[in-house]
Amino acid sequence: MPKRLTAYLLAGILGVAIGAFSALAMSGLLPTERRTGGPVELNGWYGDLTTGSAGASPWVRARIARHGLLALANSEAIYFTRTRDDSGRPFTEDCRYRITGQSIPARWWSVTLYNDRNFLPDNRDNALSYDASRADDGTWSAIVAAEAPANRRDWISSRAGGAFDLTLRLYVPADGVLDDPEGMIAGPSVERLSCDEGSA
């Protein structure tokens, strides 16, 4: 009998551990998992159009609560996050990047830089994002770097951003975007230009 009781006890402990770990992993709640993401990919930008909606799965809801609390439903805003440059290397504040995009089908859009804890980086550069108000119609471009370029207007500061990511927000997406995001949104490219010595 004690042997059988021990077997139940071990199986129970193992079951709870597996259940808890799998829940945290599938919901993006592990300490090492820190990004939003999703099944929709736009040139390296990932998003989930069910974010903030009643149709979101319990796993998506848990992930968004952790990484994007108080996100809006997709009729109002959609979100895409990118963690790597065009060559597939993770973003780091030790490198300079050029982000280039085309016209984005939404009433307003922005690209914002966040650190590895999902917060704005601790700097006072007043250059935390780039938004539609600074982009002319058609192609636009900005520099993502820890130091300001010659034209500060087109700068997203990565100072103190560490292993940062970029989030693209589209507010009031245009008609058809929710049905065919890949066909209607050209995800901005992010080219790595240079890196500090020893960090490439």
Binding site: R4, A7, Y8, L10, A11, G12, L14, G15, V16, I18, G19, A20, S22, A23, L24, M26, S27, L29, T36, G52, S53, A54, P58, W59, R61, A62, I64, A65, R66, H67, G68, L69, L70, A71, L72, A73, S75, E76, R107, W108, S110, T112, Y114, R117, N118, F119, L120, P121, D122, N123, R124, L128, S129, D131, S133, A160, T167, R169, Y171, V172
Partner: protein, 176 residues
């Protein structure tokens, strides 16, 4: 081998139950912590407070947009048993007002479109009714008693934020 069938089944059932409990409870747990932080930082109950421009120093929840001006009202319908009257003052640029319950459900969002928007928020279980005569808003029933109401206004510059600061006193989050 036969002796292991019972423990294996018990372990599998516990794994499934634990998985479900963690996934379902996580949003509420995270929201509860966030609301505690908001309260500690002075976010008012049943009143809108305009947050300062979003920077590393002023952010209270994850992934704020530095291009938006946020006004937030915490609600607790156990302390406002008749419900709340909520209004977002008119703003010329993009604005929206979103209602979130304590499980992070975004159960109502209204867009400004340059106009003031109003809603009556009723406690869970209340009968949903049409708004009073005179064009006043339709009522919405909250899924649970606590949560937050968040106004977002596009304000990518200090000048735009200053404009928001001028009109934000017209926002309302008041027990009926």
């Amino acid at each position: 081998m036969k002796n292991w069938i019972g423990p294996v089944i018990a372990g599998a059932v516990l794994a499934l139950v634990t998985h479900a409990v963690v996934v379902i409870a996580a949003p509420g747990f995270i929201m509860d912590r966030a609301m505690s932080v908001l309260k500690k930082r002075g976010s008012p109950l049943h009143d809108f407070g305009l947050s300062p421009r979003m920077t590393a120093e002023t952010q209270t929840v994850v992934r704020p947009s530095p291009d938006l001006a946020y006004s937030l009202c915490r609600f607790d319908l156990d302390q406002a048993e008749q419900g709340l009257r909520v209004r977002m003052a008119a703003y010329d640029n993009y604005s929206s007002i979103s209602f979130f319950d304590s499980n992070t459900n975004n159960f109502l969002t209204l867009r400004g479109e340059g106009q003031a928007r109003e809603a009556i928020l009723l406690p869970p279980g209340a009968a949903r009714t049409a708004g009073p005569p005179g064009g006043l808003p339709e009522a919405v029933v909250a899924p649970n008693a606590t949560g937050v109401i968040l106004i977002r206004r596009l304000a990518p510059t200090q000048q735009a934020y200053d404009t928001v600061a001028e009109i934000a006193p017209g926002d309302l989050c008041q027990p009926l």
